[in-house]
C-alpha cells in the first residue's frame, strides 16, 4: 500500500529513538503545568486515534462510536475502585476486557452494515450506552456522575501528585498502541486487514475470512480505547455519562487519524499534535468570551485538509521526504474522478 512509508519507518530506528528520548525528557524541560496538560491531551488523543486507526484506517471500518468503549473502560475501573476498592491499574485491564466483550455483539450487529450505515449504527450504540448509564442511578451514579475519591499521592491507585507521572503513564500507553500497530502492520493480519479495507468482497473471494479479521481487530481496538477511558477519568478526577460516552471522543478519535494520515502508523500522532496544539493555543490566546471562534477555526482546518489533502497531512511530510531523497523521480499523481 505505501511501501515508501514502510521503508521510512524501518530505516528510522534511530529516529524513533531520538523522538522517544525527547518525549521522555519533555516534562523535565517544561515547567508550566498547563503545557504538560496539553502534552497529556496530545498523547492521550493520539493513543485513542491509534486505537481507532486500527479499525478505521487499516480495515476501513468507519466507526463513530468508539466512545462506547472509552466509556465502558472508564466506568468499569471507576465502579471497581469506588465500590470495591480495586486499584485502577487492575480496573483498567478489567475495563479493557469488558470493552472486548462488548465489541463482540456490537460487531456482530454492525459489521453486516456497510459504509454510512455502519457509521450511524456505531453512533447509535454509543448513544444507547450513554442513555443507559444516565438511567443507572443506583449502581453507576446516573447523570450526576461522581468524582474520584481524593487519595492524595497514591501511585498504586493511579493517583499522583503533580502532572508529570500522568504524562509518563499516557506516554507508555501511546507507545504500547504504536508498538501493537507496528507489529500488526507487519504481520499477516496487517495484510489481510488492508485487503479487507480496500475491497471486502474481493478479499473474501480469495479466501480471507473477513468477518474474523474484523472481529479480531475490533477486539484490539476496543481494548485499547477502554484503557484510554480509565486513564482519562483518573486524570480529570471525574466521570459522568456525558463525559465518558461523549460523541466528541468518538469524533476526535477519527478526526486525528484522518487529518494526520489515515491507515498509517504515525498519522494519528501527527493529526493530534496539529489539532490539539491549535486548539490549546486558541484557548489560551482567546481565553474567555469569544464564543465559537475556536471551533470555527478547528472546523476550517478540517475542511481544508479534507479538500486539499484527504490522505492526511502525513502525506505532506512523506512527500517532502520523497522530494528530498528521491529528487527527480517521477511521481504518479492521483487524478480525481470527475463528477
Amino acid at each position: 500500500m505505501e511501501p515508501v512509508k514502510k521503508g521510512l519507518i524501518s530505516r528510522s530506528g534511530l529516529w524513533v529513538g531520538v523522538l522517544a528520548a525527547v518525549a521522555l525528557v519533555l516534562p523535565l524541560l517544561v515547567s508550566s503545568t498547563f503545557a504538560i496538560d496539553i502534552f497529556i491531551r496530545i498523547l492521550l488523543f493520539a493513543f485513542i486515534g491509534v486505537a481507532w486507526n486500527l479499525m478505521g484506517g487499516y480495515a476501513k471500518q468507519l466507526s463513530l462510536g468508539h466512545a462506547a468503549y472509552f466509556g465502558l473502560g472508564a466506568y468499569t475501573s471507576t465502579i471497581l475502585l469506588i465500590r470495591y476498592g480495586v486499584s485502577p491499574w487492575i480496573g483498567m485491564l478489567a475495563g479493557g476486557v469488558v470493552a472486548m466483550l462488548a465489541s463482540l455483539p456490537i460487531g456482530a450487529l454492525c459489521f453486516r452494515l456497510r459504509g454510512p450505515y455502519f457509521a450511524i449504527a456505531t453512533i447509535a450504540t454509543a448513544q444507547v450506552l450513554m442513555l443507559l448509564f444516565l438511567k443507572f442511578r443506583d449502581f453507576a451514579w446516573g447523570a450526576e456522575g461522581t468524582t474520584m475519591p481524593n487519595l492524595g499521592d497514591a501511585p498504586l491507585m493511579m493517583q499522583f501528585d503533580g502532572k508529570a507521572p500522568y504524562y509518563y503513564v499516557v506516554l507508555a500507553l501511546l507507545a504500547i498502541g504504536l508498538a501493537i500497530t507496528y507489529r500488526i502492520e507487519r504481520s499477516w493480519m496487517g495484510y489481510y486487514l488492508v485487503a479487507v479495507g480496500e475491497d471486502e468482497d474481493a478479499a473474501e473471494a480469495i479466501g480471507v475470512d473477513a468477518i474474523r479479521i474484523k472481529r479480531n481487530i475490533y477486539l484490539i481496538s476496543a481494548f485499547l480505547t477502554a484503557l484510554a477511558g480509565t486513564f482519562y477519568v483518573q486524570y480529570i478526577y471525574f466521570i459522568d455519562p456525558n463525559t465518558a460516552f461523549s460523541f466528541n471522543v468518538s469524533v476526535e478519535a477519527a478526526l486525528v487519524s484522518i487529518v494526520g494520515g489515515i491507515g498509517t502508523l504515525w498519522g494519528p500522532v501527527v493529526g493530534t499534535v496539529l489539532l490539539e496544539a491549535t486548539s490549546a493555543l486558541l484557548q489560551s490566546w482567546l481565553g474567555g468570551g469569544h464564543g465559537g471562534i475556536q471551533l470555527t477555526v478547528y472546523s476550517l482546518i478540517l475542511i481544508a485538509v479534507i479538500l486539499c489533502r484527504p490522505a492526511g497531512l502525513i502525506g505532506l511530510l512523506t512527500d517532502a521526504y520523497d522530494r528530498v531523497v528521491h529528487a527527480g523521480a517521477a511521481r504518479v499523481k492521483e487524478v480525481p474522478l470527475d463528477g
Partner: protein
Amino acid sequence: MATNRSSAFAKRRDRRDFLRKSAGAVALATSGIASKAFAAEPVNIGGLYPVTGSFAQIGQGCVNAAKLAVQMVNDAGGIKSLGGAKLNLIVSDVQSDTTVTRTETDRLISGYKLSAIHGCFASALTLIASEVAERAKMPLITGSSSDKLNIDRHYTFTPFSRASQFALAQLQMSKLVSDSPKVAVIFENTAFGTSTSNGLREQAPGQGVEIVMFEPYSAGLTDASPLINKVKASGANMLFPVSYLNDLILIIRAIKQNGLEIAINGGSGGFVIPDFYKNVGSAAEGLLGVAHWNHDINADAQKVNEVYKQQYGEFLFEYAGGLVAQTFMIADALERAASTDPQKVRDALSTLDVSSGYAAMGPGGKVKFGPDGKNIYAHPVGVQWQNADLATVFPKDEARAPLMKA
C-alpha cells in the same frame, strides 16, 4: 545522500517537536507575562463560567456581574489591609463542558497567583472545579446548589441555599396554591435536575405533599407534548419542572397548547432569568419559582440591580446577584487575612461572619459558614413573575410583594 536522509529525518522530527515545544513555549510565555504584570499590587481572583455552550447566556451574565462586582470593590478603595490593593478578576470560559472545566480550573490555579476562585453556575461544572480546587488547596466560593459540594470539602464555600432547601421551599409554596397538592415532578437527568428532584422526593411526605409523578427526562427535547400528556394523565394539580431554559420554554408552551390547567413552580435555574420571560412572554405571568437570591431582597440588592440594569438592560438575576455578594465575601476575607495567600484566605472565609453590606445581601441578610462550608443562615426565597419582573413572595416575612393569584 546519507546526510540528506538524516537531515530529512531531522527535519521531520524537528517539525513535530517544534509544534510541541511551541505550544509549551506560548503557554509558558502567556502565563509568565500574566504573573509578572500582576505579581506586585493587585489581588488575583479567578472566575470560571460557561460563556459558550449550552449555558452561554447565563454564563455571560455571570461574567458581567463578576466584573461589576470587582469594579465596585475597587471603587470603594480595594483591600485596605493590603494597602488599597485592587482586585483583579481573571475570567475563564469553561464552555459548558466538564473536561474544559477541569483543565481551565487547573490552568487558572497553576498559571496565575490566585487568592480565591468563584464559579461555575451549573452544578455539574462546579463539582469538578471544586474537586480540582480542593486538591490544589484553593478556596472556591460558589452559588451552585448541589448538596454534594459540601461533602468532604474544606476549601469550598457555599453561601447560598442548597438544592434540598430549594425543594423544601417549593413544597411549602405548593400549599399556598392548594390545600391538597398533588405534584408532578419532571426533571432533567443532569446533576442539577437530579439533586433538586431528590430533595423534593425525600421531603414531600413530611410536608403533606403527594407526589403523583416523578419522571426524569432527557434534556434537549424536540417536543414537550408527550411529557405534558403524561402529566395530564397523572392527575397532578401542580407541576415542578426542574430544567434549564430551552426545555422550560417548550414545557410552558406545551402546557398552554395542550390546554393543561395546572399551577407551576419552576424552581430555579433557567426559570429565574430575564431570558425566560423574553421567550415565554406573558405566559410567564404569575408563575412561581424559587431562588437563592433576588434583586428586591434589600436596599443593597436593589442598588446593585439598578447599576446592572443600566449597564446591561435587564434585571440582575439570581446567580449573578449572588455572585456580586460572593465577590464582597472574598474581599472581606482578604481584608481580615491581610494576605493574598490562598490558605490564609480560606481560613478567613471559614470565620466569615457578616450581617451588613453587599457581602450579606442574600436572603436572611447574614452569612456565617459552618464546618462543612455551608452558610448556616442560608435559605431560599419564593419568587413570582409579576409584570415582567421577579418579585419575592415567600416566606411571608421576607415577601416584598403580595402573591399574585394566577
